[in-house]
Amino acid sequence: MIDLSKAFLLGGVICVIGQLLIDLTKLTPARIMVLFVVCGVVLGLLGIYPCLVDWGGAGATVPLTGFGNVLAKGVMKDVDEFGFLGVFTGGVKAAAAGITAAVTFGYIIAITSKARIKK
């Protein structure tokens, strides 16, 4: 239960930041998303994001910043293993599950549902 609360709290805080950016700035949603991924990469690189993951679990890994963190982690791992080439291979390799899931589920939803106006 305590894990759930921590995940809820951390995930919530990250989403509040996103909402504030939508409400208070002129940034488009696409830019905010890219910003989140890049922040995740930087925080992952600095070793800060892994601490957030340890504390908040899914609250840190599920938001887009978590995706950035995974990219950074993958690159660092592959660089250690293969040297410079790891810069190009590590990120996508580590994020393979997330990317493939996004494409697969995106495709399924696209062929099974129809867009409508929110009621």
């Binding site: 939508i22 409400d23 949603p29 696409a30 696209a110 129809k114 867009a115 409508r116 106006i117």
Partner: protein, 335 residues
């Protein structure tokens, strides 16, 4: 024959008549304060079609057919259809009328299309080039989101201050003879760009154009605001309307209580969660074709200045950092 008056205004001798109008709108508009004036409210955003774009064409075609019916004219009586919408290549209009078997002129004036079409239509009738014309405009929330922001399928969050594109189509039939209010003079507007860059704040981009056209019209005709029962702008919204008042005051014109805006009339802003109001070609088209014509029929209006306002916004140019040019065309309608 049409005569020039002053700098930009054209006085119409024959005073073409607005024989009838019809408007078909979507669910949200049908839930608004003007619901009872519309000819039809379509609950399904697809209007029985496969895509939003096809749905918009459907609304436009149905509004045209409805307006024809009400005017007592047949499609073959119409000499030309003047129509436009917000989509690339005026998609909604050209697909709506591809089977109409009637000469068609596509117009792009962004949200100013309705008054632009009435302006050109009335000059065609005045010159004798046409006996009856149909003027139509449409917009659709879902197709406009795809065109100007993000496709709904993408599921993007909307900016809270963005205006809400009206789902709707309006058509009026103008004729050389018959019963109805008359178009007595028109003032085509200039493109005015005051350097607004925010595509979510189109009211601000359009209000300088609306102000310019109003000032020019009053100057050309020697009239004052008091000579009108209503000065009706297209879709400035609450923010753009406030800005228009300020701009007109700077030009020593007090709009008093004479000004209203179709974008603010079509929705209950607070209850329906549309902060700034409605926008889109369909907004002024539907409000004029349904509500305003009914007010004339009831004798509640004697003379109005209808000024549909357009933000000549190009998503490509906006992304390249360009500002948004605005335009507004005025049509004077009298009982």
């Amino acid at each position: 024959m049409a005569k020039r008056l002053g700098q930009q205004t054209i006085v119409l001798d024959k005073q073409p008549i607005v024989l009838a109008g019809a408007a078909i709108v979507g669910r949200k508009e049908g839930d608004g304060p003007l619901a009872k004036y519309f000819d039809e409210v379509v609950d399904d955003e697809y209007a029985g079609e496969k895509t939003f774009e096809a749905a918009e064409s459907r609304l436009m075609r149905d509004a045209f057919i409805k307006a024809l019916e009400k005017s007592g004219k047949a499609a073959k009586d119409i000499n030309v259809i003047l129509s436009g919408d917000l989509l690339n290549q005026c998609t909604a209009a050209s697909y709506a009328f591809r089977d109409s078997d009637t000469p068609y002129l596509g117009l792009f004036g962004a949200c100013s299309t309705m008054s632009e079409s009435m302006l050109i239509g009335s000059i065609l009738i005045d010159s004798g080039a046409a006996d009856y014309v149909a003027c139509a405009a449409s917009s659709h929330f879902c197709s406009a989101e795809r065109q100007f922001r993000f496709p709904l399928e993408y599921g993007s969050q909307r900016t809270p201050t963005a205006q809400w594109t009206v789902t709707g189509a309006g058509t009026v039939i103008l004729g050389k003879d018959g019963q109805g209010p008359r178009i007595t003079c028109v003032t085509p507007g200039k493109i005015i760009d005051e350097g607004i860059k925010d595509a979510n704040n189109m009211g601000a981009a359009m209000s300088p154009a609306a102000c310019d056209t109003i000032v020019q019209h009053l100057q050309d005709t020697g009239r004052s605001v008091d000579d009108y029962d209503l000065i009706l702008t297209g879709d400035l919204g609450s923010f753009g309307s406030a800005m228009l008042r300020e701009l007109t005051v700077r030009n020593h014109i007090d709009l008093k209580s004479k000004h209203n805006d179709c974008g603010m009339m079509i929705f209950d802003l607070a209850r329906q969660g549309v902060d700034c109001g409605g926008s889109g070609c369909g907004c002024s088209a539907a409000v004029f074709s349904a509500y305003i014509l009914e007010q004339f029929r009831l004798g509640l209006l004697k003379r109005i200045l209808f000024i549909a306002t357009g933000a000549l916004l190009s998503p490509t140019r906006t992304q390249q950092g360009e500002t948004i040019p605005g335009i507004a065309h005025a049509v004077c309608v009298e009982a």
